[in-house]
Symmetry: D2
Subunit: 371 residues, 4 copies
C-alpha cells in the first residue's frame, strides 16, 4: 500500500492542476533498512522509523496512515489532536470500538477545520465515478436492488498460513478486506443507508494451512467467505458477498443496481467499462449498454486528466484521482465525487459489524442496534 | 404452457429414437371453445373439458398436468390412483401441504411401478446438462459457492393487476415462479441438499396496480423479489434471488458454482454457452472458458439429436429433451440427466418454504424443521 | 437439410396463423431405403425416389429443392416450367452459368405468377430481422463499413477427405458454403449492391486428407478459407472472410455495420442477441447495447409467434419463420422481412464469382464485368 | 505524446529495478512558453527550444524523438551520427524514402554500438506480451489466420479540419496512425513477414470539414479508412483495417490469430484480458478462455512490477514497460519481449506502402517489389 499511496501523491502533481503542489515530506515505517531506499525511490524528502515525530512536524499538513487495520487508531488520534488532516487506509479500524473513537475524534477535529479521509479508492475508478453521477441525475429512479460481490480465489488450501489468516492479526478475513469495499460502494452509489441486515453466513473452508517455513499445519480462524442480505432506508434490498476461494474470480469486484428507470453494472476485472440499461427507452431497442468510461469526448470523470479518448486506466489511477481530490478538498474546493471521511467510513464499519453479528446470532440485525 | 408441452411431446418423436412413439391421445382444458382448434393445431387425437375422463381412459399411460399451481394436486392424486404415470408443471404445488400429499402419493404409486415427473425444464437445457456432467466427473472438486439469480423486469408499476399479483390465486410471486427453478438447478447440479436458510428478505415494491379493464387501483400482495442465503450439507454456501423488477434483466436465469478445482457459470439469456474455469490448469493461462454447448464434435448432451455442430437451440428444446427422456424412463431406460420426480420436487418446495419462513421470522431456519 | 426443411414446413402450421395450412404432400429422395422412415417421421403423405413425378402432380403448388448445389438447376427449371413455385437451398447453383439460367427461368415464370425462394435462412434469425428493420428506419444513417466473417474450425487435418473437400463434387469450399451466407446478409441488411471486389485471397491449408475407409491420403482441392474486400454502390467498404480452419470459431457468423448514425453487430454463436450502438446519443452514456432480440415486449420480429419474453430461439427457427413467410407470400401477403428469390440470389452468386476471379487474377474486379 | 514519454521515463525508475537509473536530462520543444512549465512538471532538468543542442550534449546517451512523422528523420540522423542511441515515435517516418534512410543510418550506427527503438507501445501491453510468449511456446501451431482491426470513431463530419486531415501535414490518415500499430503487432506476434498484399481499398468518407475558427469548409484529403488483405511467408492469410469513422468503436485495437493448435484474441478496449483457445483440449470442454493478463500468480509479463494479482493496468503502462526495457537493452540485457528497432519498423513501413500501392493500382503487390 505504501507504493500505491506514494505513487498517488507524486502522480497527482503531474496529471492534475492542483491549487497547491503536493510535497512528499516524510515517510515513516518500522523497517529501518527498507525505509531509505523506499524514500529515495518514491521521492520522499525525509524518512523516519517513528511516526510520532510527525506530530510535531509543523510543515506537515496531512498524514496518510497506511498501516495495518489495528494500528490506525493511535496515529489518527494523535495526529488529529496535533492539528493534522488525516487520511487512513480502509477499513477505518480493526474493531467497531476503535472506529467509533476515530469517528468521534474526527467530529471534534472537524470543528477545528481538520479534514479526514479514508482510502476507499474504488469510488474514483472512472467507471464508478460515472455511475455515481448517473445515479445522482436520476437515471435509475427509485432503486430496487443492489447486488455486490467481491470475489477472489487466492485463498485455496495451497496458500500458507499468512498473518491474514489469523484473527488476532487481521481482525477478519474476506469480510473486512473485501466486503468493506462493496459496502462503501453500495452506500456511495445509492446515497442511501442500510437499515437492516436480514441474515448472514460466514464460512472458513480451509481451516488448516501450512505454517510458512515449516511442514506443519496451523489453524486459520478467519472467514474465507461472508455473505449477507440487507435493506436500505429507501427500500432497496441488497446482497453482499466476499470470498477468497471463488475459483476463477481473481479480483472480481462487481456491483449492480437495478432501479425503476434503469440499471448499472460494474466489474473491476473490466474496470474501464460501465454497463448501463436505460429502462425509459422503448423495449424494442433497450439493452445493457457498454460505456467505455474513459472517454474525453464523453466528459467522463477524470478522463481529461489522463490520456486520449478511451485509452484505458488501471488500478492505481483511483488512488491518484483520490490524492488530487484530497488536495482540492484541503484547498476548500469540491472533489469530483464525494470523499469518504471517518464519519462516513464508520457507517460502513457498522454494517460490517451488523453482518458479523447476524451470522453469529442467526437472526436479522437492525442497524439502529449497532453503535 | 400447453403449447410448450404439446410441442415437446410431438417433436420428441421426430428428433429422438424413442423406444416407443409418443401418441398425443387427449387434451383436457376448461375453455371448450379454444379446445378444439388447439387440439387440431397440436395434433391431439381427442379433446375434453373434464380431465376426470382421463382417469378411466385405458389407452392413456401418462397424464401431463399443466394447470395452475393450486390445481396440480387433485388430478395428480386421482391419476396416480388410477394407475397413470403423472408429469406435473413446476412448482409441485401451491402449498407445502399439497406438495407433501403428492409426494406421499407418488411414493406409494412408485411401488406399483408408476413414475412421476416435474417439468423443471432447465435441467435439459444442453449447457446445464453439460454442467451436470462436469460436476459429476469431479471437475469442480469440493463446492464452496453457489450463486443463483433469476431476474426479470416485467413487473414494473405499468403492469396491471394480473392474477399473478394476487396471493389467493398465485400463492407467491417471483419466489414460487423463479426461485423454484434455481433451487432445483442448485440441487440438481451440486447433487447436494440445503440444510439451512441463513436469512431471507421478501419485498413488494409495487403495491398498487391498475385493475385490468378499469382505471382503479388494487392491491398486489405477492412478493416482487425474494432473496435468501443457504448452506448445503456438503458445506457450500449459497445465495438465491428472484425478481420481477430487476430492470434490464429480461430472463436472466444465472447460476454459478465455485469449487476447489473449478467453476461453472450459466446465463439463460445466452443459453447455448457454458462458462467453465479449470483451476487445475497453470494460473498463467487459466481463465473462464466459453464452451459453445451445442457441439456434436464435443458430444454434448442432446447435441446429436438436433443440428450440425454449434448451431444453437432455444427455450423449447429443454421441453422436447425432457419429453424424450420421460419416454426413455417409461421404457425402463436411463435418461440423459436425472429426471425430477415428486419426491425430488418436494425437496425444492421445502427450501422455498424455509425461505419464506426465514423472511417472516427474521431468523435462520433449519431444513430439518420444515416438513 | 431435409430435416431442417421438413421441420420448418411442419412447425410453421403450429406457430403461425397461416392464410392456408401447409400440407406436406410428397418427399423425393434417391435413397429408397431411408425414404419411407423419413417420410413417416416427418409427416410426408407420400414418398418417391424420382423428383420428376412431382412435375405432373397437380396438387403440389410448391417444390422445395434441397439437393446438392450442382443438382439445383434441373429440377428448378422443370418445375417452374410445370407451373410450380420453387424454393431452393443456397447457394442458388454450383456455377454462375447455372445460376443465370435459373434466374432467367424465374424471371419468365414470374410473369406467369410463379414465385421463387432461396433458403438464406439467417435473414429470419430474429436478431437479424430486427437489424434489417433498424437499418430501414434510418438508425444507422449512411453506412461506412460492413465487416462480415463466417468462421468455422471443423476442417483441420484430422477431418477426412469428405466430398466437401473435392472441387468436382462441391464446387468450392468455405466460399460457396459460408461466404454465400454473409454476402446475402450484407446485401439484405444494407439494401445496397456490391460494385467492386478490391482484392481476394483463397487458401487451401490442408491439401492432403485421409481418404475415408482407407489409410491413404488424397488431395483436397477446395479452398479452406477465402477473404475478399468489396465496396458498395452507396460507398460503404466491406470485408468478407470464410474459413473452416479458424480454430476456436465453431459457427461464428458475425456481421457488423458502422454507419454515420449508429452501428449494429451480430454473432450467430450468440444468436439471440443484437448489439446496437446509437451514435446520436450523447457520448457520455453512448455504448454498444445488447438487445435480447426475442422480446415480445419489444415487438421483435417473429417473437409473438414463439415463447414468452426473451425465452430464446435456435437455429431451426430461421427455417420455420421462412416457411411461414413463404406461405404468406404465396397467399399474396407481405413477409415479415424480404424473401430472397432467384433474382436476388443470382446477385449474391455474382459477388462470389467476382471474388474468385479477383483471387485468380490478383486484381480488382468490377461487378459490371461479371455476368 | 510528450506526456506519455516523460511519464514513462520517470515511472520506470520507480516500478522497475533498472541496471542504471534513468535521468531526465533535457526536454526540447518549439513552444518556448509551454516548455518551462512542462519541464518542471515532468521533472526534466533542462529545457531547450532547439533539439540540435542535444547533439553536442555529452551527458545525454539516448534521445527520444516524439515529433510529428515528417520531422523524425532529421534529428534521428543527426543524433545517431553524434553517437546517441535514438528512440522514435511510430510510424518510423512520413515516407518510405525517409524510413529507408533512417534504417540505413541505424544499420551503420549499430556497428558503432548504437541502438534504435520505435515506440510501438502495444507490444508491452501485458496481454499482448503474454500473447507473444504463448505463440513462441508453440501454443498456436502453424498460424492460418491473422485478423486485425484498429477502429475509432472520432472522425465524423462534425470533427473540424485538423492538421491530421491534411495529407501535406499528416502523410496519411487512419492508415499511418492505426494500421501502423496492427501491422507491427501482427509481425511481432507471428514472428513472420508479410510477402504479398492481395488487395486494398482506401476511402475518404468525409471530404469537406469545417476549417477551425471559421464557418468555411475545406477539403480533407487523407483516408478515413484503409482495408487490405495480405499473406505471410509462413502461409497465413491476414486482413487489416483502420478506420476513424467506425461508429461505436472508440479505441478498438483488435487482433486475432487462429492456428492449427490454438487461437488468441485481444481487444485494447478491454486491455487487461487475453482470450486464448487451446485446440488441443477435448472439444467437449474447449472454448475461448478469458485470461486476466495482469496476474502475478500467473507470472504474466511485467505483472510483478506493478500491483497485486489482477489489479489492472492502463494505456500508459505499455510506455513505462518499454522505457524500462530500453534501459535494460542499453545495459546489454534482454528486454522482456523484443524491442522494435529502425530495421524492424522499416519492415512495417514497407507493408503500409504496399497497401497504399495496392489500393492505387487496384492489384496485388509483392513485398519484394517494395523497397
Amino acid at each position: 500500500m505504501g507504493r500505491a499511496h506514494s505513487n498517488a501523491w507524486s502522480q497527482a502533481n503531474k496529471f492534475f492542476e492542483l491549487p497547491r503542489p503536493i510535497a512528499l515530506h516524510t515517510v515513516a515505517a518500522r523497517d529501518a533498512e527498507a525505509l531509505v531506499p523506499f524514500a529515495r525511490r518514491w521521492g520522499w524528502a525525509q524518512a523516519t522509523t517513528d511516526w510520532r515525530t510527525l506530530v510535531d512536524e509543523h510543515e506537515v499538513e496531512l498524514v496518510d496512515v497506511a498501516t495495518s487495520n489495528d494500528a490506525h487508531q493511535a496515529p489518527a488520534l494523535a495526529l488529529l489532536a496535533a492539528g493534522k488532516h488525516v487520511a487512513c487506509e480502509k477499513p477505518l479500524a480493526g474493531t467497531l470500538a476503535d472506529a467509533r473513537t476515530m469517528r468521534d475524534a474526527a467530529r471534534k477535529a472537524k470543528k477545528r477545520g481538520l479534514q479526514t479521509f479514508v482510502w476507499f479508492n474504488y469510488r474514483r475508478c472512472p467507471a464508478l465515478a460515472l455511475a455515481w453521477e448517473l445515479v445522482r441525475e436520476g437515471k435509475l429512479g427509485r432503486i430496487h436492488h443492489v447486488r455486490a460481490t467481491y470475489l477472489q480465489s487466492w485463498g485455496g488450501p495451497d496458500t500458507p498460513l499468512l498473518w491474514r489468516f489469523k484473527k488476532a492479526a487481521a481482525g477478519s478475513g474476506a469480510h473486512g478486506d473485501l466486503n468493506a469495499h462493496i459496502v462503501d460502494l453500495a452506500r456511495f452509489l445509492t446515497g442511501d443507508e442500510i437499515v437492516e441486515v436480514h441474515g448472514a453466513v460466514a464460512r472458513t473452508f480451509v481451516t488448516q494451512r501450512t505454517i510458512p517455513g515449516t511442514k506443519k499445519k496451523g489453524r486459520s480462524d478467519v472467514d474465507d467467505a461472508v455473505l449477507f442480505l440487507a435493506s436500505f432506508a429507501g427500500g432497496a434490498v441488497a446482497s453482499f458477498e466476499a470470498s477468497r476461494v471463488a475459483s476463477g474470480r481473481l479480483n472480481s469486484n462487481v456491483i449492480e443496481l437495478n432501479g425503476a428507470k434503469g440499471s448499472l453494472r460494474f466489474d473491476f476485472e473490466s474496470m474501464n467499462e460501465l454497463w448501463f440499461h436505460d429502462a425509459t427507452l422503448p423495449p424494442r431497442t433497450a439493452g445493457w449498454r457498454r460505456i467505455v468510461a474513459t472517454s474525453t469526448a464523453g466528459k467522463h470523470p477524470y478522463a481529461s486528466n489522463w490520456w486520449p479518448d478511451a485509452h484505458g486506466l488501471g488500478y492505481e489511477h483511483g488512488f491518484v484521482n483520490m490524492a488530487a481530490d484530497i488536495a482540492l478538498a484541503l484547498a476548500g474546493r469540491k472533489p469530483v465525487v464525494p470523499l469518504p471521511d471517518f464519519e462516513d467510513a464508520y457507517e460502513t464499519q457498522r454494517v460490517l459489524e451488523a453482518a458479523l453479528r447476524s451470522a453469529r446470532e442467526r437472526a436479522s440485525v437492525k442497524l439502529s442496534d449497532v453503535r
